[in-house]
Symmetry: C2
Subunit: 382 residues, 2 copies
């Protein structure tokens, strides 16, 4: 078991993850498959452990952003089917087939080129992506769709397993654009001579809110991690989500500074009175970015503000009184009755919760917990 | 040699690194040691290759933020002395001694506790840190300093190798606070019965601007990476810096969208006319954060703006005309006569260049170049 030597860590509550997945399983029913989206190192939670826990809790397919992420999971022993949501080079189609990784396809030219590299005894599974209004990747026109369908049919080394699209606004109260995308999907689906096995459209927000978008599989990301797709729909979710990630550190230095003393880079903070100051071993290279200046953290269940500029590896907090070195400080999560949510941090940064967990850097160890026990520590540095 | 399968990569120009170090070597002269600061994965450039190249170019000591980073370098075969700039648990002092890692010390209590774990035949090297005005870590009072000095003297398993402090404002035009810190350092130095071997104060800005702060070693970070410690002193630097990092990707999808079409999450972008849109396989989970919406990138030497919300793994650019899939897009760096600097990105995000390179996520492969040739590819995913 790896260890870590700096007291800054993200705790990953696998019970919360399982709970969130089980709730979604009940919500979508038995006929709908659950694809666990574990791209971006499982939104910063750690791909391997999250993938394994998700599969154990009711997911049967995984999705990642690009081929390297899929290969990484394979090399860590994850054997479940994996869909790459992003683009892939045609020349790498053979590698994907060898590792039984499903690719997303939407360009006739890609298919032609990829065919040159595929071997007949090792079929490549693909999902066709339709662009119904997200505007990122996907087929937008009927003739291209038909062209793709035809060339897939003529190619013995390619198996069309699924068709999907992605919603742009499923997390907004106003569902007009979603309905437009949904009807567009239905229309494009009608162009197919034969419907492939999996039809999937829903991200968390759509899956939670619009049963008509479930078809026979959903792609579950943010809500699996216990976070609401947006603050505006949080009130109306069919069940309460349990946040999976919390972020902690410990005081490494505590001192009383005199009124007028200045702190950190730029000496921008000046003590208005004699003050207790704690040093935290976390900084912007951990993803605790400089704009979080002023953000509060929890010390002994109380809120204490970050003062002075956040440094690369450290920041400073103004303590209500003296605390011993080694006191746990919670940046995201609960301490007694107090809590700081990912949403609070997102709001402070004028961004979305997705970005916050993704930003927690690789050098922060992930500590996995189940039934209140640490089951694994992942420290990519060692 | 590791490969990567998504066309997004950071290029690390080791010739530029060597140049920046050699210039600093000339600037400080032969009597001043150069400590290369390679914490935070060498400010995002990759610790192993940067450490090796820095040592080959005139650095003789390395510095990192915490013990794990030092151990990581040791495990990658880096044998040079390494100073941990941050705090370390007393219980881990023995591990540091075993791996010949130098620790920063500033608390008498720490020294007492650490002593319990040290072995007499394996000395721990330490540097004492003085807090002369940064307010992060360090001794602030004479009696604590004397106490530390005494207990170090009485402890056969500890060797005091250096004393140092850190400047808060060395990158500002106004040098008042720096001078205050410098004179405070001189004063505290006078309290020592015996001066240890290494006295070091200077970060890049101080080393570049104030020879009186050189003493017999400097700690070189940002300017080694070819970036100015702040925009305000850039004009007056004694030599021109060469940026080490550039960031690139390739178009994975190109399409013409109709006037009125909407793009990306929230469907916030609406095409004002028929437009060519390119999809880039880079997003906020790569460190290309959402606030970079509107930022320009280089395509074929021309600037093209990011349009629509930046996604986790992708973003969209408005192209001046059609370009083939596979066209290189530069997010940071040069294309022909055009260039986008780290400083431009920092300015857009209202932050400092340090944060930008640190933020480029672990999943972005680092491609090392020397004499125009790729010497190594580092893809932490595989
Ligand atoms: C194609 C696709 N499917 C499913 C999901 C899961 O969405 P959610 O986390 O809302 O359940 C995503 C996530 N997208 C991220 C957020 C992005 O591209 O920015 C996705 O890109
Ligand atoms: C103790 C110490 N020495 C030397 C350096 C190198 O500084 P520069 O990169 O300006 O040359 C740093 C960097 N500090 C970072 C920036 C921080 O703590 O935020 C440092 O913390």
């Amino acid at each position: 078991q790896t260890n870590f030597y700096r007291d800054t860590w993200a705790e990953i509550n696998l019970d919360a993850l399982s709970y969130n997945i089980e709730k979604m399983r009940q919500h979508i029913g038995n006929d709908v498959k659950l694809i666990a989206v574990v791209k971006a190192n499982a939104y910063g939670h750690g791909d391997e452990d999250i993938a394994a826990a998700a599969l154990a809790s009711g997911a049967s397919y995984l999705a990642v952003a690009f081929l390297d992420e899929a290969l990484a999971l394979r090399k860590k022993g994850i054997n479940a089917p994996i869909l790459v949501l992003g683009a892939c080079r045609p020349i790498d189609a053979r590698l994907a087939a060898e590792w039984e990784i499903t690719l997303t396809v939407f360009q006739p030219q890609w298919l032609e080129e990829a065919s040159l590299y595929l071997l007949p005894d090792k079929k490549l599974k693909i999902h066709l992506k339709l662009d119904t209004g997200m505007g990122r990747l996907g087929v937008r026109e009927k003739d291209i769709l038909k062209k793709l369908e035809l060339s897939i049919k003529q190619n013995a080394s390619i198996h069309l397993e699924g068709v999907y699209t992605h919603f742009a606004t499923a997390d907004e109260i106003d569902s007009t654009y979603l309905e437009y995308q949904l009807s567009h999907f239905h229309k494009m689906l009608s162009y197919f001579d034969e419907r492939p096995k999996f039809l999937h459209l829903s991200n968390s927000a759509a899956a939670l809110r619009f049963p008509s978008t479930h078809f026979n599989a959903i792609r579950l990301g943010i809500s699996m991690y216990g976070l609401s797709p947006s603050p505006e729909i949080e009130e109306d979710l069919p069940y309460r989500l349990k946040p999976v990630l919390s972020l902690h550190t410990k005081l490494v230095h505590v001192k009383k500074i005199k009124k007028g003393s200045k702190l950190s880079y730029g000496a921008t903070y000046e003590a208005e009175e004699d003050e207790w100051i704690g040093t935290l071993p976390i900084g912007y290279a951990d993803g605790w970015i400089r704009r979080l200046n002023g953000q509060e953290v929890l010390v002994n269940g109380l809120r204490a503000p970050i003062v002075g500029r956040i440094c690369m590896d450290q920041c400073l907090v103004k303590l209500p009184n003296e605390f011993p070195v080694g006191t746990v400080v919670t940046l995201i999560g609960r301490q007694g009755g107090a809590s700081i949510s990912v949403n609070e941090i997102a709001k402070k940064l004028d961004t979305i919760n997705y970005e916050i967990t993704c930003m927690i850097a690789g050098r922060v160890p992930r500590v996995y917990k189940k039934d209140g026990q640490v089951t694994r520590i992942l420290n990519p540095l060692l």
